[in-house]
Chain length 219, copies 2
DNA sequence: GTCTATACAGGGATAGAC
DNA sequence: GTCTATCCCTGTATAGAC
């Protein structure tokens, strides 16, 4: 998309920043629809209708569809960043901290389901440069946040050191994301006690994980 | 990756079944493109070009774009089913069996990357009835396959029984899928030893998992 | 800032020759 | 079975009135 329009708003420095409430409506509508259906399935028309404005108005606030999409992604990334930043607080025993982290993390995924879906989408198909970067940053924040906690307990000798901290983080984050991703499908298996019960899932997960990584020198 | 297995051209079953080689080319091209870009981003034109035929020819073999997509999904589901069916064989100790299962499962995901991507896509957004069913079936096969193994060892007293077998299966499958999904992004973190090394990842995962679920009554 | 109207390209799908 | 040519619709994006 290098060859775009040569008509640029030369008058003002703010190149259509979403400050006005109209733009915010559009942004919010776009976030919802993109998260549900993906980029290419969603037309500007659909977004305009959802936002309660005209199609042309969307293009007034955002130069192109892709610009709008990137704006949505950036919003999502920032929002996710804030959530992650709030995660690593707290104290208590190793198992308490890890357990709390896992629960809160999973809770956040569901609370911000749309944002999570957007990130997952990009994770699956990062073709645009910006999106790759955003996903990378988000995952990075997530990783370092939990990795630091784990390393602390590794240094204290409470967790095994023959497993990479990043590996443990991957298991935790990966399982939570997988649970989020499959929750709709898991609902169809009535025999699974944890299918409709995130807390149950999280408890069992941390139970396995903690026992798997605690430093028991019983051989 | 030319998987062009010769198929005999049956003269019957004219209901546009993908028996002819032309249809197979289209199906294969569609699989590749749909897996990479998703349903709505890919035009029939693109598929036709990739398959080396005309656009009209695609519609000769498949009534609609959606028909073609469903056919691709069904192929994928069948292929995945075959892979899963081959997984649960083998014997040895509990850790050997679980470890082998995990390794083979992850290997399959990468070997059939396109198929895996298609399933993941549908997992994320099952709106069409058929696709929901296919994903459901595939996951179901996967689950029961590994759940049975785990239950066996639970009955033998080697694994804890206070954790659902399905939960353990979820962790295993979920982690593998997450690793597959993020492998492109993980590559960008050079400090992760397992990022470019699926075997390493798998070994650490099963290490954690096995220690987390084995029935140690050392309290 | 918001609209109606419009330009233009590309999408899915069909008709009919070969 | 395969093609070219075509239809109609919807998509993105622009122009210009208010």
């Amino acid at each position: 998309m290098t060859d775009s329009t040569d008509v640029k708003p030369t008058t003002k420095a703010r190149t259509k920043t979403p400050t006005s409430s109209g733009a915010q409506n559009i942004l919010s509508a776009a976030e919802e629809l993109f998260a549900q259906q993906g980029y290419s399935s969603i037309s500007i028309n659909a977004i305009a209708k959802q936002a309660g404005v005209s199609k042309a108005n969307v293009f007034h606030h955002f130069d192109t569809k892709e610009t709008l999409y990137i704006a949505v992604l950036q919003n999502a990334s920032i929002e996710m960043g804030h959530l992650i930043a709030e995660l690593d607080s707290g104290n208590g025993s190793a198992s308490q901290q890890i357990g709390r982290y896992a629960r809160q993390h999973l809770q956040n995924l569901f609370d911000k389901a749309r944002v999570t879906q957007l990130i997952l989408r990009e994770l699956q198909q990062g073709d645009k440069d910006e999106s790759v970067q955003l996903v990378h940053n988000t995952l990075n924040k997530n990783f370092t946040s939990i990795v630091n906690i784990i390393k602390k307990f590794q240094d204290q000798g409470e967790f095994r050191q023959d497993i990479e901290a990043a590996m443990i983080a991957t298991v935790l984050i990966g399982c939570n994301l997988f649970y989020f991703q499959t929750s709709a499908v898991l609902d169809q298996f009535p025999e699974l006690a944890f299918a409709k019960d995130p807390d149950n899932y999280c408890n069992q997960l941390t139970d396995i994980l903690l026992r798997g990584i605690e430093n028991k020198s019983t051989d």
